[in-house]
Symmetry: C2
DNA sequence: TCCAAGCTTGACACCGTGTCAAGTTGACAT
DNA sequence: ATGTCAACTTGACACGGTGTCAAGCTTGGA
C-alpha cells in the first residue's frame, strides 16, 4: 500500500469513481477504467488484481475525499435523542448520492463475489452503528417507541435508510434530495419516537 | 405458447423455480436448470431463447400457481381505508417470500438486461397499483396524513414494501415473517394515517 | 553502465450465454 | 414397411468479460 507510488493509483481511483458516478447505463468494465486512467488493462491488474478490490479501494478513496467519517461523527454531537436522530439522517442521507455510483457497482457484485459482499457489509456497518447510536440516544431520553423491542428499532431505521430506498425514491420516483431527507426524518420520528 | 406441449415446458418452469427458490448461494445457470429438468442445455434454449425470457416465464408461472392476482385483489374487498391498507400489506407482505427466489434473479439481471428490467418493472406495477388504491381509500376516508402531497404517500408505501426491505429485515436481520408484516402495518399506519 | 520498477503488447485460459449443424428417437400416417 | 415430423441429442464454436502469463520497452537512480 504505502510502498506504492500514489500517482497512478490515485489516477485509477479517480477514473473509476468518475466512471461509476456518471453511471453510463452499462456496467463499467476494467478496460474502461484502464483507458480512463491512461494505462493498459494489464497494468491495471498490476495495481488491483481483482475487480472487487478496485471497487473496494474506490469506495475507501471516495470516503476519504468526501470526509464521510467526519460527517457521520459530527452528527453524534447533538445532545437530545430526537435531534441526534435528525442529524444522523441528515448526514447519512446527504452522503448517499455522493457515493451512490460506487455503491451501486459494489451492490451489483454482491450477488456473485464474496469479497464484494463482505466489503459492502463492512461498509454498511458504519451506518448500522450510526443507527444504533441514534436509537440508544432515544432510549436514554425515554422517548423510544415501545413498539420495537430489542434491536428492532435499529433494524427498522437501518432499512429505512438503505441505499436501495434512496435509489427508489430519488432516482425512480423523482423526489428531490431535500424531499427525501425531510420525509425520512419525519418517518423515523413517527415510527421510532413515542407519540405523546 | 399454446402450440407447445405443456409437459416439458412446465417441468422446466418448475425446476427453475425450485432452484431459484432454494437459493443455493451462487447464481443459477441455464445448465443447472436444464439438468434439473432432465434435458440438455441446448434443448432448454429451444424453449426459452434467452435467460431473461425463462426468468420472466417462471415468474408468471409462479404467479399463477400462487394465485397472486386473486390474493391481491381480495385485499381490495375491505371497505374502510385503514382496513384496506392493512389487508393489502398483509396480502403482499405474505406473498413476497413465495416469489423472492425468482424475483431476486430478475432483480440481479436488471442491471444488465433491458428485458429483465422491463419485466420486473411491469411486475412491480401491480404492487404499485395496490399501494395507490390503498392510499386513495385513505384519502376518500379523509384520514390520509397531510405530510405527503400528491403521489408521495404512494411512493413511500411502495418503497416501504419493497422486496429489498423484506430481504433486509427477514433474511439479514432475522425477523420472522409475522414480525415483518406487523411492523410494516404499524409503520404504514403511523406515517400515512393522520394522527388524532 | 547496469539494474529495477513500471509499463507495454500479445496471447491465452476460463466461464457463462447463445448459436449452429448433424444425427437419433419415437409417434403417427400412408 | 416407409416416410416424415417434432423433440431431443451431442459436439463444436463465437462472443464478451475477467484474470494470467511471458517477453520486450522506457526511464530514473546507484
Amino acid at each position: 500500500m504505502s510502498s506504492e507510488k500514489p500517482d497512478t493509483r490515485t489516477r485509477i481511483l479517480d477514473s473509476a469513481w468518475k466512471l461509476l458516478e456518471s453511471g453510463t447505463g452499462g456496467e463499467v468494465r476494467m478496460s474502461d477504467i484502464a483507458r480512463a486512467a491512461g494505462i493498459s488493462r494489464q497494468a491495471l491488474y498490476l495495481h488491483f488484481p481483482k475487480r472487487a478490490e478496485l471497487l473496494v479501494a474506490t469506495t475507501l478513496h471516495v470516503d476519504a475525499v468526501k470526509n464521510v467519517d467526519a460527517r457521520l461523527a459530527a452528527s453524534r454531537a447533538a445532545t437530545g435523542g430526537v435531534e441526534r436522530l435528525d442529524a444522523f439522517i441528515e448526514a447519512w442521507g446527504n452522503y448517499i448520492p455522493e457515493i451512490y455510483g460506487v455503491g451501486r457497482a459494489l451492490m451489483a457484485m454482491q450477488e456473485t463475489d464474496a469479497e464484494a459482499r463482505h466489503a459492502w457489509e463492512s461498509r454498511m456497518q458504519a451506518v448500522r452503528e450510526g443507527c444504533e447510536a441514534a436509537v440508544r440516544a432515544l432510549e436514554r431520553d425515554g422517548v423510544l417507541s415501545p413498539d420495537h423491542p430489542g434491536e428492532r428499532a435499529t433494524d427498522l431505521l437501518w432499512t429505512l435508510l438503505s441505499v436501495r430506498n434512496w435509489e427508489q425514491l430519488v432516482r425512480q420516483c423523482g423526489w428531490t434530495q431535500k424531499d427525501y431527507v425531510e420525509a425520512m426524518k419525519r418517518t423515523a420520528r413517527q415510527t421510532l419516537v413515542r407519540q405523546a
